[in-house]
């Protein structure tokens, strides 16, 4: 588990928690569920990060034990420790995958929120949203 990734995840979680606590404009009422979802996702990310740290720690420990056992010519024990280390690393990969899924969900949710906040009350095809980020197309008031 590298420190920059941990810091990034914590920063993301903190940003989401801050966003959850900030009052939204009336136009953003419809996206309240997004903020709630983001807060839940932030909590999930914190749990995932904790699990990753635990698996990484155990994997490192098992590798170390395996090396010591190999040095002591205890092949069977070294194999067992390496196997255990592998299982922890596999769990770590699964945690990374889960983290990616959660982060993707957050990104899509924030994009939806941004699109909703940035757009004028009434858009027609081809109009550019005021935030300049993207052209929105459609009709009616969301």
């Amino acid at each position: 588990m590298s420190t920059p990734r941990t810091l990034t995840s914590i920063a993301l979680a903190a940003a989401l928690a801050t966003a959850a606590g900030r009052p939204l404009p009336a136009s953003a009422n419809a996206t309240g569920w997004l903020v709630g979802g983001a807060a839940a996702a932030a909590a999930t990310l914190i749990i995932i990060n904790h699990n990753k740290q635990v698996h990484a720690k155990y994997a490192a420990y098992d590798h170390q034990v395996a090396a010591e056992q190999a040095a002591a010519n205890n092949a069977a024990a070294a194999y067992g420790s390496e196997r255990q280390a592998y299982q922890h690393e596999a769990a770590l990969v699964a945690a990374y995958k889960h983290e990616t899924v959660v982060q993707h969900r957050i990104v899509v949710g924030l994009e939806a929120q941004l699109a909703e906040r940035g757009g004028p009350t009434r858009l027609v095809a081809g109009e550019v949203a005021p935030n300049g980020s993207a052209a929105s197309y459609g009709w009616g008031t969301l």
């Binding site: 419809a30 993207a134 197309y137 459609g138 969301l142």
Partner: protein, 122 residues
């Protein structure tokens, strides 16, 4: 007696089918696919009368061009909803990008607002 029972079941099934509305995702998909095909009638097929007034052939054409710029349209994935407010969001995937498709349904389950916004590349 048995014939009457069968007839009653059939009539009930017809009644339910007649009353049922398409789900929001079906509405979002069919509307977006119609816009993709530059089909004005298909695009507004599920719009409420007020929203239909806003749509022109030119704006449907602009939306169609924007959708075609991303290549072939693939699946729709729900990314959020607030059913109490009739709000549903979907992510439409294309060969070369993604679009956020947002709907607001009125109490008759007709589309009262429809918006498509390009999403940043992944």
């Amino acid at each position: 007696m048995r014939t009457w029972a069968l007839f009653a079941v059939f009539a009930l099934a017809v009644l339910i089918a007649g009353c049922s509305h398409d789900g929001p995702q079906v509405l979002a998909e069919s509307t977006t696919r119609a816009a993709y095909d530059n089909d004005l009638d298909g695009t507004v097929a599920h719009f409420d009368p007020a929203l239909k007034q806003e749509v022109t052939r030119a704006t449907v054409g602009q939306l169609s061009d924007a959708l075609h710029a991303l290549g072939t349209m693939h699946g729709f994935v729900a990314v959020g909803s607030t059913p109490a407010q009739g709000r549903y969001d979907y992510q439409a995937s294309f060969d070369k990008g993604r679009m956020l498709v947002q709907l607001r349904l009125d109490s008759d389950q007709e589309i009262a607002a429809y918006r498509v916004t390009p999403l940043a590349p992944q």
